[in-house]
C-alpha cells in the first residue's frame, strides 16, 4: 500500500490520514491535528502563511515515516501538511498512526509529528498587528549569532519549531536550554524490551528533550552486535546527529555486546567519560559500579555514549555528565572550530 505523505495547498482532512492507516490488524489508531491558533507568545495572529521546499519536504516526510515504521515495525503512518495562507482554526498538519496496540500507535504518532516539526523544510510567516514575521528566524539570530557565527553546520543549526513558538526569548536569554536545537539520537539495546517497556530509552529521550535537544532518531535493537553496529554507523555518519545515546548491553553478561559492537567504529574514545561515570555511579551503587563498561567515543563527527540499561544510570549519566559537556564537545568536533588551541582550551 502506498503511503499517504504529502504537502498540499488544499484544505486537509483528518479522515484521510486515519483511513490511510486503518487496517484489520490494527486495534489502535492515534492521530494528531495541528491547527492555526490565534496567538503566539502574547501576540495576536490572524493569518499564517506556510511555505515549503515542496519536493524536498515530501522526500523528508517519506524518510521520517520510513524510519519510524522501521523502528516500530507494527506501526503504519500517514501525514499531510498544508502550505499557503491559513486562517485561525484551519488544519496545518494532520498525521495518523495505526498499530496492533495503543502504546505503539501513540509512540509512532508522537515521533512522527516531533520529527516533522524538527527537520521538514517548511516555514511559517505569522501575520498580526505587528506585521509579518518568519517564525524562528529572529530566534536563530538571537540564540546563535553571538556565539561564533562561523560555526557552520553546528548542532545548533536547526532550532526545532518549538523555539519558534517561544519568541518571547530575548537576545540574551540565558534560560535557553543547554542543548537547544541540537539533533540527537537514542538507541536502546535489549533482547527483552518493546517500545512500551523500554524504560531507559524513555528516560534518555526525556532527559535529552528536557535539555532542549531534538530527538531525530530512535530505535530499539536486540543485543546483536551486527544490528547495533549497522544502525549506529548509519546514523552517526548521516551528518544529522550531533550525539547518539545508547542504553543497554554495557554489562558483563554474555549477551552484553554493545561495547564490542561500537569499538571498531570509534575513531577515538573518550576514556574520561567511563571514568567519570563509574566515579559518579560508585556514589549510588558502590563497588558494583565496576561492573559497568559504559564508554564514549567519536564516530564521524558524532559523539556516541554507551550507557547501561538502568533508567537510574541513564538519568545520572545524562544529567550530570553528558548534558553539561555536550555543547562544548560538539563545538570542538565541528570542522570549522578545529583550532590548534581547542584541546588546550578543553584541557583548561
Amino acid at each position: 500500500m502506498k503511503r499517504v505523505s504529502a504537502v498540499r495547498t488544499e484544505a486537509l482532512s483528518l479522515d484521510e490520514v486515519v483511513a490511510a492507516v486503518s487496517r484489520p490488524e490494527a486495534g489502535a489508531v492515534t492521530s494528531f491535528s495541528g491547527l492555526v491558533r490565534n496567538h503566539a507568545d502574547g501576540r495576536a495572529v490572524t493569518l499564517l502563511e506556510y511555505e515549503a521546499y515542496p519536493s524536498m519536504a515530501e522526500k523528508e516526510m517519506e524518510r521520517i515515516l520510513e524510519a519510524i515504521e522501521d523502528e516500530i515495525p507494527e506501526a503504519r503512518l500517514a501525514v499531510l501538511h498544508r502550505i499557503g495562507k491559513l486562517r485561525v482554526g484551519e488544519l496545518a498538519v494532520v498525521c495518523a498512526a495505526s498499530a496492533p496496540h495503543r502504546e505503539q500507535a501513540f509512540e509512532a504518532c508522537r515521533q512522527c509529528i516531533d520529527r516533522i516539526k524538527a527537520t521538514v523544510p517548511i516555514w511559517k510567516r505569522e501575520h498580526g498587528p505587528e506585521g509579518p514575521y518568519w517564525v524562528g528566524w529572529h530566534d536563530a539570530r538571537c540564540a546563535h549569532g553571538a556565539s561564533g557565527h562561523h560555526a557552520h553546520g553546528s548542532g545548533a543549526g536547526h532550532a526545532p519549531s518549538e523555539s519558534g513558538h517561544h519568541h518571547a526569548m530575548s537576545s540574551n536569554d540565558l534560560r535557553l536550554p543547554p542543548l537547544s536545537g541540537m539533533a540527537v539520537g537514542v538507541l536502546t539495546v535489549s533482547d527483552s524490551r518493546s517500545p512500551s517497556t523500554d524504560a531507559s530509552g524513555r528516560v534518555a529521550r526525556e532527559a535529552l528533550t528536557r535539555a532542549g535537544a531534538t530527538i531525530v532518531a530512535f530505535h530499539l535493537v536486540r543485543d546483536e552486535p551486527a544490528d547495533i553496529a549497522s544502525w549506529v554507523a548509519e546514523h552517526a555518519h548521516s551528518g544529522q546527529l550531533r550525539a547518539l545515546v545508547i542504553t543497554g548491553g554495557t554489562g558483563i553478561a554474555e549477551r552484553d555486546r554493545t561495547i564490542e559492537a561500537l569499538e571498531p567504529l570509534f575513531s577515538r574514545t573518550l576514556d574520561g567519560f567511563g571514568e567519570a561515570f563509574r566515579r559518579s555511579s560508585f556514589d549510588q551503587v558502590g563497588p558494583r559500579a565496576m561492573l559497568s563498561r559504559a564508554k564514549a567515543g567519536v564516530i564521524g563527527s558524532c559523539l556516541v555514549f554507551a550507557l547501561p540499561g538502568s533508567p537510574r544510570a541513564v538519568e545520572l549519566a545524562l544529567t550530570e555528565l553528558v548534558v553539561p559537556v555536550l555543547p562544548h564537545a560538539v563545538a570542538l568536533l565541528q570542522p570549522s572550530s578545529a583550532s590548534p588551541n581547542s584541546e588546550l582550551i578543553h584541557a583548561g
Partner: protein, 82 residues
C-alpha cells in the same frame, strides 16, 4: 563549478530572490566553504549563518560534504512546520 542555489523564508528575504545560478570558485569545494562564500555574498546573512542548514539535491548535508557540478543547494533557515 556551476550550482543552482535556492533560498527560502528569511534567507530569501535577505537574498532578494528565491533562486540563482552561481559559478563557484575552485576555493569553494565543500558545503562549509559554500556557507562562508554565501555570507560574503550576502553579509546580512552572517548573524544567521550558524542556524542555516544546506540541502544538497534535497538531502541535508554537513560542512565536510563535497559539492558537485550542477548541484542544487538549498539554503534552509530554521524550519517551522506543524
Amino acid at each position: 563549478m556551476r550550482v543552482e542555489v535556492l533560498y527560502f523564508a528569511g534567507a530569501r528575504d535577505i537574498a532578494g530572490k528565491s533562486t540563482e545560478s552561481c559559478e563557484l570558485p575552485l576555493s569553494v569545494p565543500t558545503v562549509a566553504a559554500f556557507l562562508t562564500w554565501l555570507v560574503e555574498r550576502y553579509p546580512e546573512l552572517e548573524p544567521y549563518a550558524s542556524s542555516l542548514r544546506i540541502a544538497q539535491n534535497e538531502m541535508f548535508v554537513e560542512g565536510p560534504e563535497l559539492l558537485s557540478e550542477n548541484d542544487t543547494l538549498a539554503v534552509i533557515p530554521p524550519v517551522a512546520g506543524g
